[in-house]
Amino acid sequence: MKLLIVEDEPKTGDYLRQGLVEAGFVVDLARDGLDGLHLGETGDYDLAILDVMLPRLDGWQLLAGLRRAGREMPVLFLTARDQVEDRVKGLELGADDYLVKPFAFAELLARVRTLLRRGSRNQEPQLMRAADLELDLLRRRASRGGRHIDLTAKEFALLELLLRRQGEVLPRSLIASQIWDMNFDSDTNVIEVAVRRLRAKIDDGFEPKLIRTVRGMGYVLEADAA
């Protein structure tokens, strides 16, 4: 998967590139709008991450230019400004998602993966697995090592999300928004408690432990946990 990043802030650009490269993407980085447009028009990218405030050509103009050139890859905007008008403008111009700085890198990663997955949606699996954990989406049943596990509806949804995105670190904000539709940062430890309870049900008394807390970032479900 090849990504284009256009970001003029040197540190931000470098760390975004490093983080995304380490997450397994091929990344090109442009430092201003015109270079970004040139790369976007000539290269073949699966997704573009654009800063709004850019020298020589701002993010909106860059996006418009890309669309004029017939480039239809998903575009994610990064901005320091959280204004409703900005958001509306970006979405009107055909941006696919929007992140306000400062953002958690895990959140960016999760959104990039969501955007890339969109459109190329595979056949919905009916059964999801991790190690000896099984989730039967059709019958809404979970089991581990052949033993049935009783889950509430929300716990089931949470486990499904973690399984669907195995190996990805999911930030708390993403979990709150995907499972409970809470699209704002909450200062409570609700997610922590919910994950802890889920973990007690599927990991207590089993090996290997599947759900792991990545401190400062979020939660990940991995079958081959280190």
Partner: protein, 457 residues
């Protein structure tokens, strides 16, 4: 030159022009009256002499008497300095003329005769005269033309000097009145100057200045009052801003000092990868908290600038509360809290914002409830207004804290550790959202607990 006009200059000019016009009119009136008076005086003399001549002519019975006429006329005109008389017959022959007879030809033609007086100048001297056709006693003789004129140079002199004096007076009076007007306007506008000076002294540090209403004339009192109200509003906003920045600095100092110390201690010697990971993870948590705080504060800053409700739609409050109960379920269960909801109601507003406001209230209630306590949400509708009350069991809030509980960064218990609380912005955000929707929110202590109540339409 600036296009702005000065009130002083305008009023002064207006005043001067007005008074000059009045004085000019008055001067013209007086001048005319005096001149009219002179004309009447002259006419009296002229008609008197004409009557005299008429009397003499009436006694002319034969052309022989005609020779006596000049002597008779001379006798009766003796002592009249500056008087000219001409008597001529129908053929234009002069029967009599004073030594000096400066009559214009038009007057001496029979057609010129009439009682209308005429004035003219002859050799630099002004004259006024009349000509009359007078019958004689002898019916065979044609009427004689008698022209009488007086030298009016002394009248003219008087009028000239009178006019000069008058114009001089008008000019001086206009200047004086203009100056007087200027002084009056300056004095009248002096309170404005005082206001200007006062306003010039207003700075961010001296917003407590107020215009004194007693020293201001009634016309300006309203303006002064409005300005004072504006200053009061500015002062209030500025004070809030100041409090806010100092709160902000204070709230940022603690986490940043933690970050700095922790990172610098970690860097003092070589450590294991696990230890580095631990430091970075701890930092990441701290950063996340900072980012959240900044996001919340930006939201509040926007709210202070008149937050607009982006999208209004009917929002079912009971449904929102149920979803939030679901969200907080794990947390409440862990604390053994009992959540209950009664009633229902609909309001018009932005679903996401209202959910955020309610979430803050519920998480606040959960945080302050003791283990095994309860949280009740009651929704009521009455008279187009919807009230939502959230009551949690627990320690009542001391009364002195109640009014400030919605202030940002305010914590009833300063000793409370900030990690188990939010940044202290949740309730402030809730109030901003409710106010943006035109609602109001309040808090009170109830028996064995605290009750937040919000009203919306």
């Amino acid at each position: 030159m600036s296009r702005r006009t000065s009130i002083t200059a305008r009023l002064t000019l207006l005043f001067a022009a007005g008074s000059t016009a009045v004085l000019l009119a008055l001067g013209l009136l007086i001048g005319n009256a005096v001149e009219q008076h002179f004309i009447e005086q002259d006419m009296e003399v002229l008609t008197g002499k004409t009557d005299l001549a008429a009397h003499l002519l009436e006694q002319l019975r034969s052309p022989a008497d005609l020779s006596a006429l000049p002597r008779q006329l001379n006798d009766s005109l003796v002592g009249h300095h500056g008087l000219a008389v001409v008597v001529q017959d129908a053929d234009g022959n002069r029967v009599f003329a004073t030594p000096h007879a400066p009559f214009p030809d038009t007057l001496l033609k029979p057609a010129g005769a009439g009682s209308k007086p005429q004035s003219w100048k002859q050799a630099g001297q002004p004259w006024r005269g009349i000509a009359t056709l007078l019958p004689t006693a002898n019916r065979d003789l044609p009427p004689m033309l008698v022209a009488v004129a007086v030298d009016i140079s002394h009248h003219q002199h008087f009028m000239d000097s009178f006019r000069r004096t008058l114009w001089l007076f008008v000019a001086i009076a206009a200047v004086l009145l203009g100056f007087l007007g200027w002084v009056a306007v300056r004095r009248g506008l002096a309170p404005l100057q005082a206001m200007r000076r006062g306003a010039a002294g207003v700075t961010a540090n001296r917003l407590d200045y107020r215009l004194s209403l007693d020293a201001v004339p009634v016309e300006l009192a309203e303006l002064a009052e409005t300005l004072n109200e504006m200053l009061a509003r500015l002062e209030g906003s500025f004070q809030r801003l100041k409090d806010f920045s100092s709160d902000l600095a204070h709230e940022l100092r603690t986490p940043i000092s933690n970050l700095m110390t922790q990172t610098q201690v970690a860097l003092t010697r070589v450590r294991s990868a696990d230890e580095y990971r631990e430091v970075l993870a701890s930092n990441a948590e701290e950063y996340e908290r900072l980012a959240r705080m900044i996001g919340d504060m930006l939201f509040l800053a926007q709210a202070d600038n008149g937050l607009v409700v982006p999208k209004r739609e009917p929002v079912d409050l009971a449904a929102q509360v149920r979803e939030l109960f679901d969200f907080f379920d794990a947390l409440a269960e862990e604390k053994g809290l009992h959540l209950s909801l009664t009633g229902s109601g609909q309001v018009s507003g932005d679903k996401l914002m209202l959910r955020r406001a309610l979430a803050n209230l519920i998480s606040n209630a959960i945080r302050h409830s003791p283990r095994g306590g309860s949280i009740q949400v009651r929704i009521d509708r009455s008279g187009g207004e919807t009230t939502l009350a959230i009551e949690n069991s627990g320690e009542p809030i001391p009364p002195q804290h109640l009014p400030r509980i919605f202030d940002r960064f305010y914590r009833a218990d300063p000793a409370r550790h900030r990690n188990d609380e939010g940044a202290g912005l949740g309730l402030a955000i809730t109030r901003s959202i409710i106010r943006a929707h035109g609602g109001e929110i309040g808090v009170r202590s109830v028996a064995g607990g605290v009750c937040f109540e919000l009203r919306m339409t």
